[in-house]
Subunit: 572 residues, 2 copies
Amino acid sequence: MDQLEKCPANYVPLSPITFLKRAALAYPDRTSIIYGHTRFSWMQTFKRCCRLASSICSLNISKDDVVSVLAPNVPAMYEMHFAVPMAGAVLNPINTRLDASTIATHLRHSEAKLFFVDCEFIKVASDDAINLLVSSGEPTCTSPLVVVIDDIDNPTGSRLGELEYENLIRCGDPDTEPHQLTDEWDPITLNYTSGTTSAPKGVVYSHRGAYLNTLALLLQWGVGTEPVYLWSLPMFHCNGWTFTWGMAARGGVNVCIRKTSAADIYSAIMAHGVTHMCCVPAVFNMLIEGSSILMEPLPSQVHVLTGGAPPPATLLEHVGKMGFIVSHAYGMTEATGAALICEWQAQWDLLPADERARLKARQGVSMLSLADVDVKKQNSTDSVPRDGNTMGEIVLRGSNIMKGYLRNPEATAKAFEGGWFSTGDAGVIHPDGYIEIKDRLKDVIISGGENISSVEVETVLHGHPAVSEAAVVAMPHPKWGESPCAFIVLKGDRMENIVKEEDIIAYCQKNMPRFMVPKKVVFKDELPMTNKKTVIKSELRKIAKGFTVVLEEKSNDVREHLPVWLSMMSKL
Amino acid sequence: MDQLEKCPANYVPLSPITFLKRAALAYPDRTSIIYGHTRFSWMQTFKRCCRLASSICSLNISKDDVVSVLAPNVPAMYEMHFAVPMAGAVLNPINTRLDASTIATHLRHSEAKLFFVDCEFIKVASDDAINLLVSSGEPTCTSPLVVVIDDIDNPTGSRLGELEYENLIRCGDPDTEPHQLTDEWDPITLNYTSGTTSAPKGVVYSHRGAYLNTLALLLQWGVGTEPVYLWSLPMFHCNGWTFTWGMAARGGVNVCIRKTSAADIYSAIMAHGVTHMCCVPAVFNMLIEGSSILMEPLPSQVHVLTGGAPPPATLLEHVGKMGFIVSHAYGMTEATGAALICEWQAQWDLLPADERARLKARQGVSMLSLADVDVKKQNSTDSVPRDGNTMGEIVLRGSNIMKGYLRNPEATAKAFEGGWFSTGDAGVIHPDGYIEIKDRLKDVIISGGENISSVEVETVLHGHPAVSEAAVVAMPHPKWGESPCAFIVLKGDRMENIVKEEDIIAYCQKNMPRFMVPKKVVFKDELPMTNKKTVIKSELRKIAKGFTVVLEEKSNDVREHLPVWLSMMSKL
């Protein structure tokens, strides 16, 4: 048996780059990209990527060099997901919402050699923070060369230096043989995560991991032949949750749009028969609000994959009636996008809407690209019981987990401690095997030995008619160690004159177990947010740390901790 | 970049075995297997496989040892696809249609250590040829131990020695940790191919190849969540075209049946709501002939994947009306099952039935698990033009190609010559990228420099109302080198008195280019067949070698070779 060796016929390194050449051969004349009046076929996209790869090589870019790009979902951004690794380099897509100084930090940390900038972002790229880096350089890194991506459909003529994207394509050789990948463990992309607490970390994907998660997500979301995929999710988010490569694998149509507005989304759906799109939950609200512009119903159902936060029941019902079929996935940059997906079961169709939403809000079962997923008791290697109740940390293991954090061996070692990737998310396993996230592990409030999910308390608070935003963190408690403290933004101005702290607490007492009720409510004009629109809870925790709870003499301790009380009752 | 090392969290060897544990965790209570009155859940199947793996280990089976099995599509056969590799061993499923002496050859060649025999095949396994091997052994191999698989639903009590399958399961440890795979290149199964001309060869699959082709085929056939899969295709055919592992990946239901009769297939479809099944084309005829037993229409559409021969138009129309949606794939043992699949395009739905059938008869586009597929000109490294006309050999390259032939370095080296796996099939590439097989390369008849596909001539012959079977091979021709010779079995007795050689030739002259018309027609009572029901053309070629064609003085040579004539015309 052992004498059967690998050879070029039976062992080819796994890479999503192979999907592009296959698409050119298997679907040569099918549309690959639609952007305004610009259309390409898969053969054209392949040839354009070959040309770009050859031009990138001619700029002295060599294996494992980083090529950064700051661009919205335009054709160039899509092509670079193939052309850059075809040149042997590593693609680093930068979040377009970042400020110049953070972008400069990423460029410096990644030691980018080339920096592609869309015409819309020339102003940002001309900022001193970047300009200084680009022109002067530091001893540890070569200054990146800037290439402007002008709008292909509506050229602006804006430039920043000499190099321009379409020019690179024109000068490239369409028959160039792409860089021959010899090791599927080689890096393909570099995606910076902006943690809510820590400094940004550069997550490196391998060709192998990208290949495996791309195919698994296509399969598990049920993306059939000939999808028409709308780029409503930025490609800079985990390489578009791998659908950059996935559309080549399926020979699908990429409908590129520069802005994610309701008008642009609806007009793309009506014009091109969009079948699939991904988005964060905020986009649903935009779609509902903007639905008045729709003059007629959607031409056919649109499958939407969402993640980040579980979609609420009312929202699911509303968009469902409009023709959007929502699937729910859970993931993170470190897991090459999706790690869990809430695979729908036909029997659930018969349940009432709120029950269906409750099931759909669960993060679900593991991707087939993961070898293993588990929920571990805190500070233990044991799994939590499959009771839908006991919280633990979600840990992952498999070939779709990142190679590690670039130039950060400490963070890498910490993330992989114990042979698992620690997600930092607290979750439960339901008896049917589906996993549900309850909170970020560090946001869990431990009160008298009970775990309180801050997210669950926030969900109840969001149900109060006067509450616009709510964030719950731990505050010190003399008896229970920690107790919940709520920070609330009310709807409309001057609502504080009408809604008082005691009203909110009374509302909570009616709608959640007593031990979960916030002991303090703080009204604010706005909550501190990251550029990804998540609340920076560390700042709120700092404030809450200063609060003290005065113990009331008549505090009904046992009833406050209902589970403890129940367990005592059962012993009587 | 290069300092990011593999670790247990981010690099796990690819293996379809991981699908089983995942199924137990993600779909614990869903039905895994239905067989008569026997039903298992995925948790039960996982535990049974763990028990069996631990029992196999306790029989002193060690890594890379071969475990053979001779069984129909019963639950044990399914479980062994996981339990045997979970014990670190290699599963060798034996074709149940083989005679005892061929089975003995396989057992001897594979040096099988364990031999599982279904109760139905005890008689075959007791044959002298096997018995001698099992009891005496040869110096180079240990005698395999026999384990009888009794019918789990209807035990017969038949035994052959001491070991019995359910007993092994009972004695095994359900909490045993499966063998820890450290290298995805390790062998998982061994499948013997029975070539029509050469000795059987043992094709070895790696865990990696099995994993990759399983997921690719699920995706490309569009197997969604919760499939109900009917085992109408033997699991000993390329491990059931990888759907053994595939059903675990999808948490589907395996409907196991002992016999593939129309009655069993229809009753399984009616009782269990079958959604998917695979079969060779002969099964369609069985389904059509047996459809009279159907008292009501099928409960819902059944997706059928077929391969081996392209499905004819009339058949597709007929079974389509019955509720079977047929997809067409092409593969071979060496490619871990499917290599190409005819991905359907929505625009083709609008075409007339015969045109749809013509498109569906094409073998299609490559599996995503293949890195590359090409059609090479004979004795050349050049590809054929994409004109749908020029024949060449189909060659494949990718990680789903076998590790090689067991203990046959010459055949392995020959198969992988030039860095490609040579399929031995002659095909064309259509301008839209779809590949179509025209013939086995060695069955192509080269007449005056023109390639004649024997299959195309046979297809025309099958259209003659009196023809039951037809096979076309080359016979020597004094002027053109080779010319076609047809062997024909007529429908019903004594038809030779009515249909004559000249009638067949006249029919051909009306229905094909003149250069393709057989120069000789031989009537036979039956054609020589392999146990896989393919014609043994080598025997017919031997007969045809003895024939001679007498040149007629008035032979219209130019018109006989229409393409040559046309090319001459164009020069005038």
